[in-house]
Symmetry: D2
């Protein structure tokens, strides 16, 4: 039985994490840290949790929390975690960071895309990229886990097997991604208002979205057999879809000459054999976000456009679960030796 | 460990039931009966369940299923259950009927509102109305449970305490109810199409909806201390709301002279003390369907409009969970002596 | 050809007004006043208007605008109009106020519900309540028109004929109202965010909403043949529905003894004979917001619940058109002697 | 003043056409043809049109209608128009076909993608492709106009200028398209139900959608200076978005070496100078479907992803207006010499 804290518990990802953790049989206590709502019952912000979690939010103080907890989840804007996490904290507890600070190995790339100095340089080498299906063994022995972004998890899970198996042209990758609105977080701004999002679709962050370098670094590692995080450049276009949750990535790439459908099926099976949370739909069947909503599953399907010799492969997941809180729990389960699906077993509800 | 069957598993209520039951630790096997999809994998209709429940649908035959199962859930249009259930079947298994056939004690009222002859007259006296919070003891010993309707569960839970405590004028009750679209089921019809429901609200079945007599019978029993199912007539107006799930009942009634807010608080507490799935929000706080979505909770709040001396009390629940499949599982848990919340523990997700 | 200004043009009601006015053949120029976006192209906030209205916003200064314009529309929070409008301004131009300041005749009622002192006391007697179908003759000769609220327009149009004809018990009126989210305006707040509104319905302002006294005053005038604005007290419960636009009011009242359906049909016909923007659906047919969306129509239907002798009458309109900007244009058309439906002819689109 | 008929008036495109035409000052009478609702008031299916168009539907008989009308709009499933239209009908009236039968010049391509024999071979050479901005002069003198598809209008308007100006590599085009649900029409099927579409996004018809050859033929003509309809092959992936209306096409292409942003701006300006219904948003600004909803506008914006030397250009339009009924009216206006925007002037409402 372990004790956990969530720093930034009242954002959407933090609250989803709290919800999942309350149902975890190996957790004896959860602390919900919040800068804005310290001292106020968590369920005031999320009445869904009334009678389930009736504690008040505590101060977002890493040092204090580290003394009390076995693991701390950070759900914070970028730039904060890298300032606050240090060796002393990692000696006391495991950190699972849902933010961006420890995801990129190349600090120059981080500083270029996030337009801020990285203040946790010394710890970067200790951080493991928490994409469970790719780095399970490293995660098991890590104290600092960089939980991947939502778009990135979906993009990488869809594309990495194709690169590992050498099936696609590395300069031909285009990722057209679609996300529900909860991905934008719970801070009030006109762009996130109901009437501004409802009944519309829009691209945003075109050619500039910060998940791009994360996708590129990981796809490069997949291509280069985990030796080098460069070499792949992608076009990545996110879109906002009028729905609460869900990410769909529609990925395009030129197949290498001679690649057959069977090779693609084979590549996916090799990468994901025995993976509990990956469902391979196979050739000609495509994922839809409704089938994974509220769950930790990632569904993947593809087709080959024979007229252009392109593969069109799609992945779908729930941005707040496999794309954030669920994967964070999965990482915790790996680190602490719990079964990987504990607290993540609920099948996706439909319609929901 | 028990074996269960769902007759009508591919409708929304049936599928939600299947989903909940797959996570139930006391169930060793589930049979999914379907008239339309017999022999076809259930997950073809609900890809959400792929890798979770990969069996094919079986024939919807009550006699066969009764021999194999400890409990059968019926999720069928009205008029079928009353024809097919019989003593021989009840000798072999428990029946939990999500349909309307065994809900009304007064067969004349049934035939008048459903405009069809009731063919299960002999069994009516054996049926228990499966509103768990009101009839737990009777349910425990029953073999035939009539799971209540979605609107009715929400209306009765909100109003019964006020009648039991004698706080409101019995002829003054108005229930203005709102439901998500999943309440209309999964049969294709123009009225249920996306573009016909989205971005609109409408009343329907005004003064004629079949949940009316069910509400009236139960409220009468509450008023008359469970001795008589008549005496209460209500105005009940359902509305269709552009959302997948959720029921909100806004209930109006004239307070009897001298009734104070404290009496109302007291009445609710007495009725629901210790009830796991009822959350009393108290005076001045109102439920919203988002806080119960995907869960078995029913939230209740109220205010007193002092200028008119009316109480306005609201209940909210998820029509497919507490309003259908969740309550059916709760009933099963009661009958078989499992903890009442097994397989119903998942807290409501938000936003979802 | 006239010149007009909108003060508060970048809110939803103001922008809808601008949109309607750009298509008005009798308007030669429109000034869009905005406190927040002065000097910035209006279409920066509403790219829908690019190439249609490319002017920049001007200062929200009533005195300046009054010198340039024949009519000024005010779309401001309450309390501002009553401070700024004065005789000098009314000498120069007509004021159509979409806010609450001049709607209530009883200043004490205003101050009680709005919890602020009314600073335009002297002008109150000059103000005409701009519900076109009820006060057309007074509007024609007025310089200060108080455009009604959205809920109120819908509630009054549905109920006034019944009171005028003496068909319902005056103390029995309950209005259960439902609104789309645009009614909450365009200011960022957590409650108006997509993920907080989507997939949920909630009551709010129960027994305390500020449209209540406006409804009561007008229904009292209907009851008392326009002699006295008191006597009617209603229960009014607004609900937030996950859709952009639309208001539905479900109104309940006890019928007086002996009242027949034909009397009700007759009452509606007498009140609305020849009214262009009222569609009477008659007995047993109910309005839905989708059929009026984007238009200036108000649809009304009803039934009689014979078991309780209550009438259930429903009205539906678009909150931003007939409930705000459309009615404001209709008022302008009346004042300036244009055909009443100029710029309001577009039939409701569907599905939209 | 002309007389018009719509064959297939009760589908979404047909009904939108009827709505637009009722506001057209040059039309003296509209006949609404319907196979399913002949003899029934049109407003029974679309109560939005009550009091605006109260006529009953007439038989869908082309020969009869041709005798009465100056122009007939066909809104029918593919394969019917090509059987029924003939020289005799074209002698009597203009045909504007919203279906697919006369859009493709290459009959072999039609038969391959639509898997049916084309029965109107003789008329194909008389048909003009009704994309107004590209073929205005030909349309003016035509009696048989093939109104383009919704996805195709949006894709072609976005990409044609780039091909005409020779700025992109012809084999590199990928179109990732997103559509609202009304594009699927008004026939009941499970896939179009509210609960099946709401809160989800999915790809469909991947690499097989029938708008593909139409896009390819037209882009080839743009590339080859209107001499040859072959040479371009694209990857086209449509997605279903939970909204009523709107199409967004996100188009990717490799820029030819040396192409600068200014060349792109120039290409768009040359193609669309003076075009009333095209709004060029320019470099770095992207269209959103909400800004064109309910209107005949098509908005276009783009960026250059310098790291990959790709252009990402997006178009947005309303699938029922510029993508169907609005463009059909625009075509009619061109043929009959009316101002091109008559009955299409209403600015897009927002939020709607």
């Amino acid at each position: 039985m372990i004790e956990v804290a969530i720093v930034g518990a009242t954002g959407y990802a933090g609250a989803e994490l709290l919800r999942l953790l309350t149902a975890h049989p190996q957790i004896k206590h959860i602390l919900a840290g919040s800068q804005s709502y310290e001292g106020i019952p968590f369920s005031r912000q999320y009445p869904s949790m009334k009678a389930i979690y009736d504690e008040s939010c505590v101060e977002n103080d890493l040092n204090t929390l580290a003394r009390q907890c076995d693991v701390i989840f950070l759900a914070l804007p970028h730039g904060i975690a890298s300032k606050q996490v240090n060796e002393a904290i990692l000696d006391q507890c495991v950190i699972i960071d849902l933010g961006a600070d420890f995801r990129l190995k190349d600090i120059g790339v981080y500083e270029q895309w996030y337009k801020t100095k990285h203040e946790g340089r010394a710890l970067l080498s200790k951080a493991v990229y928490g994409l469970c299906e790719l780095y399970r063994d490293e995660i098991r022995h890590s104290r600092l886990i960089a939980n991947p972004g939502c778009y990135t998890t979906c993009s990488i899970l869809t594309l990495a097997p194709l690169l590992k198996a050498g099936l696609i042209e590395k300069d031909s990758i285009i990722i057209d991604a679609k996300s529900g609105v909860s991905g934008a977080g719970r801070s009030e701004k006109i762009d996130s208002m109901f009437c501004e999002c409802n009944e519309s679709i829009k691209p945003y962050g075109v050619a500039t979205h910060r998940h791009t370098p994360e996708i590129e670094e990981q796809l490069s590692l997949a291509l280069n057999n985990n030796t080098e995080g460069t070499g792949i450049t992608v076009s990545f276009t996110p879109h906002l879809v009028p729905m609460n949750r869900g990410i769909l990535t529609t990925c395009y790439a030129q197949l290498k000459s001679g690649v057959q459908t069977a090779h693609i099926e084979q590549a996916y099976k090799e990468s994901y054999a025995g993976e509990h949370f990956i469902r391979l739909l196979g050739y000609g069947t495509f994922p839809e976000t409704r089938w994974v909503k509220g769950s930790n599953w990632c569904d993947i399907g593809f087709t080959v456009d024979k007229r252009t010799n392109r593969i069109i492969a799609c992945g779908a997941l729930d941005n707040l679960v496999k794309g954030a809180a669920g994967q964070a729990v999965q990482n915790m389960n790996i680190v602490f030796g719990f079964a990987e699906d504990v607290a993540l077993e609920t099948p996706p509800a439909f319609p929901v």
